[in-house]
């Protein structure tokens, strides 16, 4: 570390690189934090964790006792053992006793991506509720046809405020906070939908994974899904081989055609918008799209529509931050890494153990080093995203882990599960930590006899 600082001082490495090196060193030394405790107010297994996207400071948790809580990650509420252990109590908590609280388990709790003034909870009592954080009151609620498994909001969205909600119903619903009603229903799945993820590159693209084992890509401007991932459509390596592009496209005709269609669509769009600015006729645009859609709709190709990404339920979806890859977890205890561009299974073998099958799980990724944190029953495994190797086993929970949440600002990982604990995994072996270790001299050898 001192070498890095020196080279930064002399200008041999750039500040960005320096920071990245520092961060990656921290991330690779994650361990159970002894000095940070979340005091969980939940009395049931915690199903959802999310750090807010604006400050990276507030952690939202939703649990199966119909309670949701907000923690301040940075500011501890009180200290124990002469300031060594920081206790973080929840700064906001809503539960069944709340007049508008959920009746049954909260399956997902997410922040409004623009600020921390709102959060959205989805529950098994068929309701999605939008809460005002400051008053802890419900400002909107949406009735769903079945248990809500997961909700998601796009972090990129500038033109819409849609909550994508997946339920035990086959249809995916898009609820508009502004209008207070379901704007779209996306139908295509043959069973309940377990997981949902917005694209991190486009605000209109949505990925859903269902209990039928399919992962579908949706463009919310069109009806129907534009892609169904097939685990048998594979590519070697994490990038599609450019040289053999034509060959591959010939071989995997259907997938490639759809990809090509998408590409063409995009170019067409850009051309269209570029040439017809003055006109601005959306009707013409939509008509063009519709024609494309009709032509390329995968629903027409029944073989393609029946493709599956996992054997069993797709329990978790996670798009990488660069928007190029999609990670999916399934009840077949596999993690698959998909190339979003080509829609191919990259055939990377992740060394997962047994994974939870009946519940949605939440994966987390870190950028540098590219790790994916996967809850594997009682442990959390940090797997290399490009190697699939286990870099760390995070053991601390006494019951199965449901969720992981990576806080990239503090390089901390939060995990929680059925044992009602929220554990903090923070970089170990830091200067700070050593100082504290020096300070507390109690933990020493004591061979008094």
């Amino acid at each position: 570390m001192w070498k890095d600082i020196q080279s930064r001082e002399t200008g041999r490495i750039r500040s960005n690189t320096f920071a990245n090196r520092f961060k990656s060193r921290r991330i690779s030394s994650l361990q159970l934090s002894n000095r940070k405790d979340f005091v969980s107010p939940h009395r049931g297994s915690i199903n959802s964790l999310q750090v807010d996207l604006t400050e990276g400071r507030y952690l939202l948790s939703g649990a199966s006792d119909a309670s949701a809580a907000v923690f301040d990650v940075q500011q501890a509420t009180d200290y124990e053992a002469s300031g060594v252990i920081a206790k973080h109590k929840c700064i906001l908590s809503v539960d069944k006793q709340h007049e508008n609280g959920h009746k049954f388990a909260i399956s997902s709790a997410i922040w409004y991506p623009i600020d921390t003034g709102m959060f959205i909870t989805g529950s098994y009592d068929h309701y999605i509720k939008v809460w005002d954080t400051n008053t802890a009151q419900v400002v909107r609620d949406f009735k769903m046809p079945g248990k809500v498994y997961r909700t998601a909001m796009s972090s990129l969205a500038t033109s819409h405020t849609l909550i994508a909600a997946v339920t035990e119903d086959v249809q995916v619903r898009l609820c508009d906070i502004v209008s207070g009603a379901a704007a779209h229903t996306l139908s295509g799945h043959r069973d309940g939908v377990m997981s949902v993820e917005w694209s991190t590159s486009s605000e209109w693209v949505l990925y859903t994974g269902g209990c039928d084992g399919a992962i579908r890509f949706w463009d919310i401007r069109q009806a129907g899904c534009f892609r169904v991932l097939d685990q048998s459509v594979t590519q070697l390596g994490i990038r599609p081989p450019i040289l053999k592009h034509t060959v591959v496209s010939k071989k995997v005709s259907a997938a490639k055609s759809s990809l090509g269609g998408q590409n063409r669509l995009k170019t067409l769009q850009s051309r269209h918008t570029g040439s017809q600015i003055i006109k601005g006729s959306s009707s013409a645009k939509s008509s063009v799209e519709k024609s494309r859609q009709k032509r390329l709709h995968p629903g027409m190709l029944s073989t393609l529509d029946r493709a599956t990404a996992h054997y069993g339920v797709v329990t978790g979806l996670k798009a990488t931050n660069d928007g190029m890859y999609l990670l999916s977890a399934g009840s077949d205890s596999r993690i698959r890494l998909w190339d979003i561009e080509s829609g191919c299974n990259t055939l990377l073998n992740f060394e997962t153990g047994r994974m939870q099958t009946n519940k949605a799980i939440q994966l987390a990724t870190s950028d540098d080093p590219a790790l994916v944190f996967v809850p594997c029953m009682k442990t959390v495994k940090a797997l290399g995203m490009w190697s699939g190797r286990t870099t760390r086993m995070l053991r601390g929970h006494y019951e199965s882990v449901n969720t992981c949440c990576f806080n990239s600002t503090d390089q901390e990982l939060y995990t929680s599960g059925a044992d009602r604990q929220i554990l903090v995994w923070s970089p170990g072996g830091t200067v700070e930590g050593e100082m504290v270790q020096d300070e507390v001299a109690e933990d020493e050898d004591n061979w008094s006899d």
Partner: protein, 660 residues
Amino acid sequence: MAERDDIGGKVMALIEKATKSTAQEVDPRLLKAIKSTVRYSDSEVRLGAQTLMELMKTHDSQVRYLTLLIIDEIFMRSKLFRNLIIENIDQLLSLSVGFRNNMPLPAPPATAIILRTKAIEFLEKWNLSFGVHYKELRLAFDYLKNTLKFKFPDLQANAARIQREREEREMRTKEILLKKFDSLRKRFGMLKVEIDDTVKEIEECLEIVQWRGDDGIPLAILDEEDYEEIRCSYLRQIRLDSLKQSDKVEETSENRVVFDVLREKCKLLVTKHLISVQEGMSLLTRVEVSDNRMRDSMLKEFIDIRNNILATKKKYEDAGFTFLKIRENEETHEEEEDFWEEDDGKVGNDPVKIMAPVMRSQHGEGSSLASLSEAIKSTTETRSYKPPSKRKAVSSGNSVRDKLISEAPVMNWGSQLSNWDSTTEVRANHRGLEVESHWGRVDQDAVIPADKIAELNLQASVYREERTETPPCRAPLKKGGLCQRRDLRLCPFHGVIVPRDELGNPLVQESPLNESENQTSSSPATEIDQDVPMDETTSDSDPSQLARQIAKQALKNIREKDKEVVKKRAKLVKLKVKEHNFEVLREAAMASTSRSAVVDEEFDRVFASKQNKKSSMRRKKTTAKDRISERLFSNRSKATKPKPLAGDDEKCRDTAANQW
């Protein structure tokens, strides 16, 4: 290198050997050997941890139990070992506590239970000692405690509780000591004076006794001479003894009084004063006060007093008195008392303080002092011994005591008198018996506050009517003698009870009832009756009430008789006049026929009117005074007959109830 391997093997061998036993404890020698070997280097620790974790996986609770004991020993000592164990703490716990359903504890069930309890205990201990440093320990503890609801022995809380209890107890004893010290300081002067007096008295008595003895033979001179004669030491010893014996004074009827006093005083001195002094000394040595000088001076004085008492005692014993027997008895008794005082502190102490002056005054007033002074007077006219201060105190005490006694409430004898006026708290759960309660833990320090105790000791006093002698009726009976009925106001046979003389004649004037009766009955003779009160008022100058009443009665009797005579006479006259008139009128009527009827009518009318007038006049004679008296009487009669009224009332109520 080979050596190291050797040692490594040694660790494994030692651990395996230690865990093979069937005992409840690891062999301490083996354990010590393991510890010293593991201490040797880090690699030993690693190897030891590995071996122990392997052993924990064996399917035998006994092996697991012994392994756990070894783990605990090393865990509390080595940091590296802690780190190694904590990496697999969940595994260790699942193997020792067996909280996973799919991994129950193996075979010997009894040992398995011990293993589990021990593991839980160890986990708590570890968490207490190292929980701050290891989040994993905290998590494990929290999980077992809050999620799986295992019952932990709760060592820390228990220890804290015990510590707190001890502190409280100490504080309380300190407080009690201070209170005792205060009370001691207050009565210190009194005690001193008292003891001094007693000592002085004993000395004087001894002097008297010894002087009497010396009076007989001048022994001292004889001694000198005899010394020369008797050479043999043995004989001399006997001689000396006998001399000494002769020194001792025989108790005779003459000086018995002095002896009694002496004995009594000594008893008092030894049983009461000496003990109180010793108590005070022990208290002073134990108490912690800010004013050390005061305490020290008091202690010094106490020591002096004690020495004084002991010297006196010795003198007394030298004089040939034995109070061994008495002492033995008294001491055992006293010790018991002592114990109780110690035990319930202030409560026991207080009555002594309060009772003391009373006892003392009783002593002085009663047997001892009086007899003493008497004895002194009788035996020695030359020596006039007067304890002036004491006398005064006694006399003043006496008057005060009388005064107090006159004011004091009369209470029944009972145990509540023992803590009369005490302001101390009473321990609720202190019975003096160390009996385990079967109803759970007992708070040893629970106290009942003083005001509550006072409330509880409040004696209900039942109102007792003072028995007064109800006087007998004493009305004369027909068969002779007087009526012996005792009624409050009214004898059912003889009317209102009035004071009567020996013969049963009422002494007082007749009650207003009789009077008014008289008045109403004797309405025809109102003119005479009218005079009576006038007479009464005029003749009321007589000072003696009784004589006056008698006179009045006599007068009344005479008048009654006179009245009757007058009445008869008047009746006779009236009849005669009537006859005469009738005769005359009839003759007149017979003589004149024309007017006869008219005359007759008129006569009749006149006669009737006359009669009417007469009767109306008679009726009119009731004056205002009479009316008032009548009303008064009616009221009184109502008052004297409350029972029927009450009955009426009840009846009314009954009817009212029936109406509902």
